[in-house]
């Protein structure tokens, strides 16, 4: 029997799972530790006394610049992006009932990449232009995929297949554009494709923060229907869930959350995939846990960026390289354990 506690307030009662609470608390602590570590110990060391002094308004100008204008926005953006990707991944994995489900299945990531590459390579846009183009083209791609799948009856399986077909075309376009562009434009497009936090300032944090502030509450509310949707359409319907509407709204919100995160950093690999799975294992919860998953995502992102900055210093790897490598090895390890257990 899982132990739960119930929090009551006027007009509201929340049943909270104790283990989930413990896990979430521990993860939050880890996130905080990663945050402090990254702020203090990447590149030029800033002793804690100095950090406190700077936050208090003092300190040397160079140190202030490093802390306030370089490191803090970067770490904060990483936290937000990790959380956003993890939530959207949790929704997609639950909806598609596929442990590899992610916003990629509706072609979103590839579509946004096409937009961003076009903006960088053809229009010579900077990060901001790339972000705008990424959001627009990503959403258009997702709509096309969802529309095509809906024409044929809207089964989630068809959605996956249509997504694969459209993605294949877009991948071809992407590599063509990169192979034809000027070398420097091609390279910045390639870095964008991997996902990076390099050179991101408070402006990004502000925009992403505002977008998430608007998108997260409805996503969390709807997220509680995921558990019922996982039981199958008919069971969910008999429990009073409007299946098609809920699913459509969840897809739209999850794509939007992923879109704003992707716009900020480029498509960072594997966070959306790994964070929900790690969380589910840690909490051993039967239903998708969006908030704990978000915390795990933030943790993955902060740790990965720490490694990305330190591994080959002074060269800075894009954070997506680290998440991809770590995520791939992690998934392989996970599978190997799981397959061995299933063995006879």
């Amino acid at each position: 029997m899982r132990r739960r506690i119930t929090v009551r307030a006027p007009g509201l009662a929340l049943r909270l799972d104790l283990r989930t609470l413990w896990v979430a608390g521990a993860l939050l602590l880890a996130v905080f530790a990663g945050f402090v570590l990254t702020v203090a110990a990447v590149g030029v060391r800033l002793p804690f006394a100095d950090i406190i002094e700077i936050l208090d308004g003092g300190g040397r100008r160079a140190d202030r610049f490093i802390l306030l204008d370089l490191r803090l926005p970067r770490v904060t953006l990483g936290l937000l992006v990790g959380a956003a990707l993890a939530m959207s991944g949790a929704v997609f994995q639950s909806l598609s009932r596929n442990p590899l489900g992610s916003p990629d299945i509706v072609g979103f990531t590839t579509g946004s990449a096409t937009g961003a590459i076009l903006a960088i390579v053809v229009l010579g846009a900077g990060p901001a232009g790339a972000a705008g183009a990424a959001i627009a083209s990503g959403i258009v791609t997702a709509l096309i995929v969802y529309g095509l799948a809906a024409v044929g009856g809207g089964a989630i399986r068809r959605l996956v297949l249509v997504g694969i077909g459209i993605s294949a075309m877009l991948v071809a376009v992407n590599s063509y554009l990169i192979s034809r562009a000027r070398l420097d434009a091609a390279q910045s497009a390639a870095v964008w494709l991997v996902g990076t936090l390099n050179g991101r300032n408070w402006e990004y944090v502000r925009l992403l923060g505002l977008a998430l502030l608007a998108l997260t509450p409805p996503l969390l509310m709807l997220g509680r229907r995921l558990r019922m949707l996982e039981m199958g359409d008919e069971s969910a319907q008999s429990l009073g869930v409007r299946v098609h509407r809920s699913r459509l709204m969840l897809v739209v919100l999850a794509v939007a959350v992923c879109a704003v995160a992707t716009a900020a950093t480029g498509p960072v690999a594997f966070v959306a995939l790994a964070a929900p799975q790690i969380t589910r294992r840690l909490t051993a919860a039967p239903a998708p846990q969006l908030l704990p998953a978000a915390i795990t995502g933030a943790l993955l992102m902060v740790l990965s960026d720490f490694v990305a900055q330190r591994l080959l210093a002074p060269a800075q790897l894009p954070v997506g390289v680290v998440t991809g490598a770590v995520g791939g090895v992690y998934l392989a390890w996970l599978l190997s354990i799981q397959f061995r257990k299933e063995g006879r």
Partner: protein, 354 residues
Amino acid sequence: MTHTAAERAGYTTLEARVRARGGLTARGLGLVLAGAALVAVAALSVAVGTKPIPLGAVWDAISTGSGTTQDARIVLDLRIPRTLIGLAAGIALGLAGALMQALTRNPLADPGILGINAGAATAVVLGIRVLGVGSLTGYIWFAFAGAAGAFVVVYLLGTRGRSAASPERLALAGAAVGAALLAITNAVALLDVTTFDRYRLWTVGSLAGRDLSVLWGVLPFIVGGTLLALLLGPSLNVIALGEDTARALGADLNRTRVLSAVAVTLLCGAATAAVGPIAFVGLAVPHIARMVVGPDQRWMLPYSLVLAPILLLLADIVGRLVVRPGELQAGLVTAFLGAPVFLAVIMRRRIVPL
């Protein structure tokens, strides 16, 4: 894939399926027609291009075996090697796709999904960065080794613990290994401009710029893989009945699986080595073949063998014509020709598990 209700219930025999499909002669005739189409496309591939060359001049150049005119040189030095490489790579991709889909019983299996392209890319990038390799011929062995290595790892991971390589397991293992390899590729390519520059050109698969030495290099592997694949047809039919039934029928599942995996590695590795990662031929062609001849592997495999090079060569020809005097790489065109076909298949029929 036209699974009848009775077939899904699991009690029709292969013979019944063969009869329901119009028997041997119709399919044999279809194969001959497809073969004729392939010959025509190959001839077209030699004749068509930035500079159209009449078939008569093409024939002169081939029959004399040498020629000093500009047309003869174009035919002998550029178009014929290109066409032959397209043929070989197409055959390899089509067969490998059909084998993979049968082996994993996964309609979406293709070299991209099982980590093979990722492995080849990583090896090529490392070859460029560490050893300074810079020519298409030089990439071959790296691509081959990388592709083979990646598939072996994916296969071992997917079959760990139990003998069965279930479709989900292989796809998951492919995703995991592919992601890790992609990260390595990116890390190496993004930190060095020269490497990135060469890599970005390799990564769009293309038939252009390869000479005959590329063909001779990969041909033994393709021939070996093709023979193996064609011999495996009957055993793969038994696998398609499901693991338990196959075992009950006394089939040696492990042997079939390992041999198929060997054939896939030979074919995919060779194709990727010769022409770079080419999407969609391996995925789409077996689907088309299945629509034509049904699920019998003894027919599926030869049809895939003939249809795939048609698709690849057509894509290459289209690529030469659409942006004259420039060229679109075949890898790009296959995606654009293949994807709509694939989508049409998905939209039209009920999704039937393999």
